[in-house]
């Protein structure tokens, strides 16, 4: 199969590569860029383990061709931590509130929550549950994930307040 040339910005860095037209974004990220944080849990867009941020929207990268991401800005879990390398408030909160067990859903869950808190910085519990309802977790029963996201929202709000 002939290959095409793709270019994009991933976690703030310009990247490029050759890919078959049928190559999925998740495979390009994992196999070509060695960004193995996003996972594959279903390849049918139901589990959200592959969630990444594409031009400011959460997408399931198992259901996006790499060609569709040509020229886009992509953020994966590897790009969520603070620029100085410390954990992002969401990552901290997931640790503190035991928002992860096996960790397989976690990169997708955090990447989704990261976008959710930009869409809605002060979500209610119901809004959080709805906001992550494209992401399956088979380990935690979600309660601690919801707690983690709530705590991170509070933390981010107080950081913002402090900065203002």
């Amino acid at each position: 199969m002939s290959k095409m040339h793709v270019k994009m910005t991933v976690n703030g860095k310009p990247v490029e590569g050759l890919a078959e037209p049928r190559t999925l974004l998740i495979h390009f990220l994992r196999e070509d860029l060695n960004l193995t944080g996003p996972h594959i849990g279903c390849d049918t867009s139901h589990c959200g383990a592959c969630t990444v941020d594409l031009d400011g929207k959460s997408v399931k990268s198992c259901t996006v061709f790499v060609a569709q991401a040509n020229g886009a800005e992509v953020t994966t879990i590897e790009g969520i931590a603070n620029p100085d390398g410390t954990l992002h408030a969401l990552q901290e909160a997931f640790r503190e509130h035991h928002g992860l067990q096996c960790g397989f859903c976690t990169p997708g869950m955090i990447t989704r929550a990261h976008r959710l808190l930009q869409e809605n910085p002060n979500p209610t519990e119901a809004e959080i549950r709805m906001g992550i309802s494209g992401n399956l977790c088979r380990c935690t029963g979600y309660q601690n994930i919801v707690k983690s996201i709530t705590a991170a929202a509070e933390q981010l709000a107080s950081m913002k307040e402090a900065a203002e």
Binding site: D43, F104, R129, N135, C137, R138, Q143
Partner: protein
């Protein structure tokens, strides 16, 4: 005194890695020139294979090997029967690749190995197989009926096993009872569906003749032993590692799955690393499932509701093969009397072959079915005798002073007696009643009615035999340079947080912070005695083994430090990574102790240099290493439980049904549970709530469906509905801690606790809610909206309104 971390919500050591995308699940392992496997699977539930043509696949560019049963050498044999039992009348296990016959949709027929997965999948499509389909009986009751189509031609009646156990004299109890309650309950098939499917990657090193296998398994040691014997390689030259594993829930405890032997075989034959990552469809059709059972349970009671006897007969669906023996059915049949005294019990089951993917334990392993049967029967008994549901339970609970409570004659899945070790059942029930607000129930029902809804109280009590033997080991070593503690055990983790609780156990003995304990498990290169992770046993069995090893290490440290500091052992205390003379600042670090106990002369580092300023760590004459002593601080010890320790708990829920939409809304959910002493309540809660989400699936959403030809109808997340955050209610947890008298730490297992009672709880709540509408009894799990619709009168009712 050192701070004890036992009982504290210590944060997990592994999280930073997993939170930043730095985990290493098998698909993340990047080996140079790794090839990828893909499988051709049977599209028929039962068929004869008349021909297989792989020539086009072989010729496909990029294909490195195509395998059928004809070119896999001696591994073309039945895979092992893991747990033999005398009651197995026709034990059958599958072959790695089908030979002549296929027995379920999804069975592996051929394997292609190619340069990448895309190419391997392309080539799979080029394989031509001719099948002669055979007639099938798919539903459990149909497969068990006279004249059913047989799964295995030579296994009459599809009966894989038939077993009867008795405790006391049930016939006599029924003869003298005032009242007999009899119900039939049915629990449907579900699947563990871990977010990471199964995965295997293998590399054969021609120079060292070592086989390295990464396997997303719950049983690396067993896989290692099995592979070594299958490939006739010395055990020491096979290393199996379960790296980060994305959930297991029982599905990954079976070995061998076909792929687990075929991938290593291909790596050896092709002399190239090979990887296979299960996709979600494969997980639904090629990985084991569990739960279908139909129980007919009878309770013989006095008019006051004391249950004198219990009879239970059930059919257990074992799928097309029975590699795990009767474990699930045996657990179900021995858990059937729940928390109740019931001194006379007769349990009988038949395990039946059906032409579906094989059945092995899934979180709960027979217990959810047993709990559903007994709890629904207790509710029916209460109703028939006009007693309160809480009261009828109270009258039958084993009282705290009646432990140990032995059910003479019943053997649990470990082959040992069923003997409950401790519990406060009545207290648990009262706490559940209080937490759910039982005294306000009528008010809440009225409130629901005012909104056009019906509210009911769900109630379910469970017991869980946990911490099965035979044994696990713990290895504890103090690193002489860093002073950090290295802990190994043989079983593996799938995200439960073992590493943290094991670290806490060792840290408490040695006076260090848990973050200074490095736990390595699931790697046969690090420790290779042990069994596996299943049956809520890791904390109990490995935890106590590590505790024993760490306490011996503690004694060694104290003795050495006393010598070094020229003090009495009784005056030494361990804290903050040091051994110090109590009440003074005279101390040696653990690194210094570990160095000084090793009579090596090189001083590589500061600990080694500073160790020399103290007196010798050992007082003895003769050669530097005393006779019978080993260098350093290093201990291995084992724990073998006398029998299982029984955890328990009580769930209660307020369940609201919308009679128009036939939907169910869980307004409140309370879980009172007791798993003995808790090492880490944060991790315990995580286990309980996570288990409940799977229980919720079994109560309202999850059923693996087959059509009459045996085709799975919902083999994907589109149609098999697992709870998302929007389905899962918030859960209130109430902890109780009745120590187990059976092990030094006083702990019981908790891995399956959350799952067991949820279907019984929610479904009894639905029944209670719909009582005013005369909807009758709900004796099936899960309950779907269409079932509520039918109970409410179905289409007729809808038309009338």
């Amino acid at each position: 005194m050192a701070t004890r971390t036992f009982g504290e919500p210590v944060q997990r050591n592994i999280d930073d890695r997993l939170l930043t995308g730095q985990g290493h699940y098998i698909d993340d392992i990047d080996l140079p020139s790794v090839a990828h496997a893909a499988f051709l699977r049977s599209p028929f539930a039962r068929a004869k294979i008349t021909s297989i043509d792989v020539s086009a696949a072989r010729a496909h560019p990029g294909v490195l090997g195509v395998f059928t049963c004809d070119n896999i050498g001696h591994i073309d044999q039945d895979l092992p029967l893991l747990i033999p039992h005398p009651c197995l009348v026709g034990p059958r296990t599958q072959r790695p690749l089908a030979r002549g016959d296929v027995y379920y949709v999804g069975q592996t027929v051929a394997m292609v190995v190619a340069v990448d997965r895309y190419t391997a999948e392309d080539a799979v499509r080029l394989i031509e197989v001719d099948y002669d389909p055979l007639p099938v009986s798919v539903e459990l009751e149909d497969a068990a009926a006279d004249g059913a189509n047989l799964v295995h031609e030579d296994v009459a009646g599809n009966v894989a096993a038939h077993f009867v156990q008795n405790s006391g004299d049930a016939a006599a109890a029924f003869a003298r009872a005032d009242h007999v309650t009899k119900i039939t309950v049915r629990v449907e098939r579900s699947t563990a569906a871990p977010m990471e499917g199964r995965a295997v990657c293998a590399r054969w090193d021609r120079i060292t003749e070592q086989l390295m296998v990464w396997d997303s398994t719950q049983a690396p040691i067993s896989v290692r032993g099995g592979l070594a014997s299958l490939f006739d390689i010395d055990e020491d030259r096979v290393r199996v590692v379960a790296p980060d594993v994305g959930g297991g829930f029982g599905q990954k405890v079976l070995f061998f799955y076909p792929e687990e032997v075929l991938v290593p075989m291909a790596a050896i034959q092709l002399d190239r690393p090979v990887k296979w990552i299960e996709d979600r469809t494969e997980n639904f059709i090629g990985s084991t499932q569990e739960r279908t059972q139909v129980h007919t349970i009878e309770l013989a009671a006095t008019k006051d509701g004391e249950v004198l006897g219990l009879r239970d007969f059930f059919l257990h669906d074992t799928g097309s093969f029975i590699p795990y023996g009767i474990a699930i059915a045996q657990v179900a049949s021995t858990s059937i009397a729940g928390p109740y005294r019931i001194p006379n019990i007769e349990v009988e089951f038949k395990a039946i072959y059906t032409p579906t993917v094989p059945v092995t334990p899934y979180r709960g392993c027979g217990r959810p079915q047993a709990c559903f049967a007994i709890e629904r029967a207790m509710d029916k008994l209460a109703e028939e005798l006009g007693l309160d549901r809480f009261e009828v339970r109270r009258r039958n609970f084993i009282a705290p002073d009646q432990f140990p409570w032995k059910r003479e004659g019943l053997l649990f899945a470990d082959g040992l007696a069923v003997c409950y070790d401790s519990g406060e059942y009545d207290t648990a029930l009262s706490k559940a009643a209080e937490a759910i607000g039982l005294d306000r129930l009528d008010e809440m029902k009225a409130d629901a009615r005012a909104r056009g809804k019906y509210l009911g109280l769900g109630l379910g009590f469970y017991v869980e035999g946990t911490g099965l033997g035979p044994y696990e080991g713990g290895h504890v070593r103090i690193h002489p340079i860093t002073g950090k503690i290295y802990v190994n055990t043989g079983l593996s983790t799938q995200g439960q947080g073992h590493d943290t609780v094991f670290a806490q156990i060792a840290a408490d003995q040695l006076g260090v912070d848990p973050s200074d304990v490095i736990v390595v498990e699931g790697d046969t290169g690090a420790f290779d005695w042990g069994v596996a992770t299943f049956a809520s046993r890791a904390a109990v069995v490995s935890g106590n083994a590590i505790h024993k090893a760490a306490s011996k290490a503690r004694e060694m440290v104290i003795e050495a430090a006393a010598n070094m500091l020229e003090a009495a052992p009784g005056d030494i205390e361990l804290a903050e990574g040091k051994a110090r003379i109590s009440g003074s600042d005279r101390a040696v670090t653990l690194a210094e102790v570990a160095t000084a106990t090793n009579p090596l002369r090189y001083a590589f580092n500061k600990a080694a240099q500073s160790a020399t300023q103290f007196a010798p760590a050992s007082k003895h004459d003769g050669p530097p290493l005393a006779d019978g002593k080993a260098p350093g601080i290093e201990v291995t010890d084992y724990y073998s439980p006398p029998y299982s320790t029984w955890a328990y708990g009580c769930h209660a829920a307020l369940v609201e049904v919308d009679p128009a939409l036939c939907t169910v809304d869980i307004r409140q959910y309370v879980c009172v549970h007791d798993c003995g002493n808790m090492i880490n309540p944060m991790i315990v809660e995580g286990q309980v709530i996570g288990g409940m989400a799977q229980g919720l699936g079994g109560a309202l959403y999850e059923k693996v469906q087959y059509d009459q030809d045996g085709n799975p109808r919902n083999a994907g997340f589109m149609d098999f509905l697992m709870p998302y955050a929007t389905e899962m209610p918030k859960v209130d947890i109430v902890h109780m801690e009745t120590p187990s008298p059976l092990n030094p730490l006083g702990i019981k297992g908790v891995g399956e606790a959350g799952t067991i009672a949820v279907p019984a709880t929610i479904i009894s709540g639905i029944e209670d809610a719909l009582k005013p509408l005369g909807a009758g009894h709900f004796h099936e799990a899960p309950v779907f909206p269409h079932m509520i619709f039918e109970k409410l009168g179905g289409a007729d009712q809808a038309k009338a309104s």
